[in-house]
């Protein structure tokens, strides 16, 4: 027994990893990449957390935060990513959900810790430690691939900071792979107890769980503010301007006041679609373009071209939802065209929907769009988009972005508990 113990503590020299620069360099690269990843994930988390006060904030959209001006346009890729349904999880359970960048920050911090620990351990570390490090880098790598695909395929835009995070993930993985191959080639593999693996794994879990737990414990509670933002004075559709979206039948009547070229409206549409809650709603849209061409309530066009696009949606009849979806998907292009020339914008719309030729700009459609704006006036709504009314109750404007799923879930739950007829149109 003693002899065995002696064998374990006095390993033959060939089983110990040499501590040359060939092994230190990749570990150093892992540490630097993990530090960069933690920094970028930290900035993303900071921006997300800032919105927990339910206000609008400028966000960082540069790999040199502090040196570049924050983005307050609301139309950047960074903003689209932050406001997308993919920026956080568990949104129905807690207001805003848990930002995905928070576990990312924790994982990169863990990789930093592991790589520094290995660097300082030198000859004392087994090669299995680099294998564990390599396995740990697979998590951000896999997450980066998934989020890159989501950005490209669903959001159709890339966020600068997220891209920096993808690069950091790839660098961590590549350097960890090199470190492990060199360690394995150095012959430092030696038996380690299963407990060692469990301890390593638990350390990783704690690195993620503790910050997330603290986040949930410290974050504000919202019950008293939710769903006390009034309702509609005249919800009836006397102007016949409410456009039905895909009807579920038996769902809760919901009215969305949208500008087809407003980025926040697109984000709302994406979040509703991804939340799965849309299936419980009978959705209708009222168009409220924030474009001075047709809207006298704005002194300058916030979303140039949205009057023309709104006309196209209203003129499309049964295809209104198709045109609206197309417009939401092509917002940047349509806004650019709208700012340049109404004619070019109209031509682009007609190219996509030839049946609308002749309808755009016609008195009948202009008058209908005007009635849509007058519906907003009749209800004395604030001049902003998007606005959402569920069962006649307004979702507070501050809750139409990150807090939408949470508030909708509560409203639907309250409605299911309410006696029949309460809160209807």
């Amino acid at each position: 027994m003693l002899a065995q113990a002696g064998n374990h503590t006095c390993l033959p020299r060939r089983e110990v990893a040499p501590v040359g620069s060939s092994q230190r360099t990749p570990l150093l690269v892992v540490a630097v990449a993990a530090l960069a990843g933690a920094f970028f994930a930290g900035v993303l988390t900071f921006d997300f957390v800032a919105h927990l006060d339910r206000q609008v904030h400028a966000i960082t959209c540069s790999v040199t935060p502090g040196l570049s001006a924050p983005d307050s346009s609301g139309s950047s890729g960074c903003h689209a990513a932050l406001m997308s349904p993919y920026s956080s999880v568990a949104r129905r359970w807690t207001w805003g959900g848990i930002p995905i960048s928070l576990p990312a920050l924790a994982v990169f911090a863990f990789l930093l810790f592991r790589s520094l620990d290995l660097l300082l351990a030198g000859a004392a570390r087994p090669a299995q430690a680099t294998a564990f490090l390599l396995a740990a880098t697979l998590l951000p790598l896999f997450a980066s691939i998934v989020y890159f695909l989501l950005s490209v395929l669903r959001l159709k835009t890339l966020c600068t900071l997220c891209t920096a995070l993808y690069v950091a993930s790839i660098a961590c993985f590549a350097a960890a792979l090199v470190a492990h191959r060199r360690a394995a080639a150095g012959g430092s593999l030696r038996p380690v107890a299963w407990g060692w693996h469990i301890v390593q794994f638990c350390e990783g879990v704690l690195f993620v769980a503790i910050p997330v737990l603290v986040y949930l414990l410290v974050k504000p509670a919202y019950p008293e503010q939710v769903a006390h933002c009034g309702g509609l004075l005249h919800p009836e559709d006397r102007y016949q301007v409410r456009l039905p979206l895909a009807r579920q039948g038996g769902g809760v009547p919901t009215i969305e006041v949208l500008d087809p070229l407003c980025p926040a409206c697109r984000a709302l549409s994406l979040r509703l679609g991804a939340s799965g809650l849309a299936q419980q709603l009978d959705r209708e849209v009222v168009l409220f373009p924030l474009d001075a061409t047709c809207n006298w309530m704005v002194s300058e066009s916030l979303h140039p071209g949205s009057c023309t696009v709104s006309e196209a949606i209203l003129a499309a009849g049964p295809q209104a939802e198709t045109v609206l979806t197309w417009a939401l998907d092509h917002q940047p292009e349509l806004r650019t065209l709208g700012a340049r020339s109404e004619k070019e914008l109209s031509a682009r719309i007609v190219k996509e929907f030839p049946q609308l030729a002749g309808a755009l700009g016609s008195p009948a459609v202009k008058s209908r769009l005007n009635r849509s704006l007058r519906w907003v006036v009749a209800n004395s709504l604030p001049v902003l988009t998007p606005q959402v009314f569920v069962g006649g109750r307004k979702v507070c404007d501050e809750d139409t972005d990150l807090g939408l799923e949470y508030v909708l879930t509560r409203l639907l739950h309250e409605r299911s508990l309410a006696p029949s007829g309460v809160g209807g149109r």
Binding site: D117, W296, S367, P382
Partner: protein, 232 residues
């Protein structure tokens, strides 16, 4: 032993740094939210959607318009629809020239729909201009139709002819636009040949027959239509 301590110290140090940062950020948001709720108590300074009230809507203009519109049944509470020449003259309490001058600020919101002699039928050009003008409502609350007749014929006949012209415009708008607010936003005044005849200065305004002759007779065989961007 030393490596174990170093490992634990590194573990705790990194973890605490991350956790402390997150806690500080979230706490900051919570404090801001509490402060905002206390300060605003639910009220926000956001513009509320409303009808237009343009700069030309001076107090004096509004006063006269309110009197005319109410007396001629155009504002809710009015007892009748439409104003005849004598009524228009008495409620406006002004000369014909002053009455016409009221509309000068509306030059780019108005149009003159012209008719054939002794006719209340809208031709294609008239319909096109009327539709275009009416569709360009923007935030206006009232659409005035002020119809007239040229001096040929008797006063009574011209009064009736101008009434038919005003009705013809209204009927077309009802059939074309199906606007549920038409009853309360379109006001009719028929002036016959008796009051506020248009002079040649109005030839410069938008007319349905822009290339045709523009004498006093042609100008007054018409319905003057205009959106009024005033909240009364």
């Amino acid at each position: 032993m030393r490596s174990g301590l170093r490992h634990v110290a590194l573990f705790l140090g990194t973890l605490l740094a991350v956790t402390a940062l997150v806690a500080a950020w979230v706490r900051g948001a919570a404090v801001r939210l509490d402060r905002l709720v206390a300060e605003q108590s639910g009220e926000r300074a956001v513009a509320v959607a409303s009808a237009a009230d343009e700069g030309y809507c001076t107090g004096e203009l509004k006063r006269i318009l309110r009197r005319v519109l109410t007396s001629c049944g155009l504002v809710q509470g009015g007892s009748q629809r439409g104003c005849q020449p004598l009524q228009a003259r008495s409620v406006a309490a002004m000369s014909g020239a002053d009455f016409n001058a009221l509309f000068v600020p509306l030059a780019d919101r108005a149009a003159i729909i012209q008719f054939d002699q002794d006719s209340a039928d809208l031709d294609a050009q008239a319909i096109e201009l009327l539709d275009r003008t009416f569709a360009d409502q923007r935030g206006a609350s009232y659409f005035l139709v002020v119809s007239r007749a040229s001096p040929e014929g008797s006063v009574a006949y011209n009064r009736e002819l101008s009434r038919r012209r005003a009705e013809s415009v209204l009927q077309h708008l009802e059939e074309r636009f199906h606007d549920p607010d038409l009853e309360r936003e379109v006001g009719l005044l028929w002036l016959g040949e008796e009051f506020a005849q248009l002079d040649r200065e109005f030839c410069q305004w938008q007319r349905s027959r822009p290339t045709g002759p523009c004498g006093g007779a042609e100008l007054n065989r018409s319905a003057f239509v205009a959106w009024i961007d005033c909240r009364l």
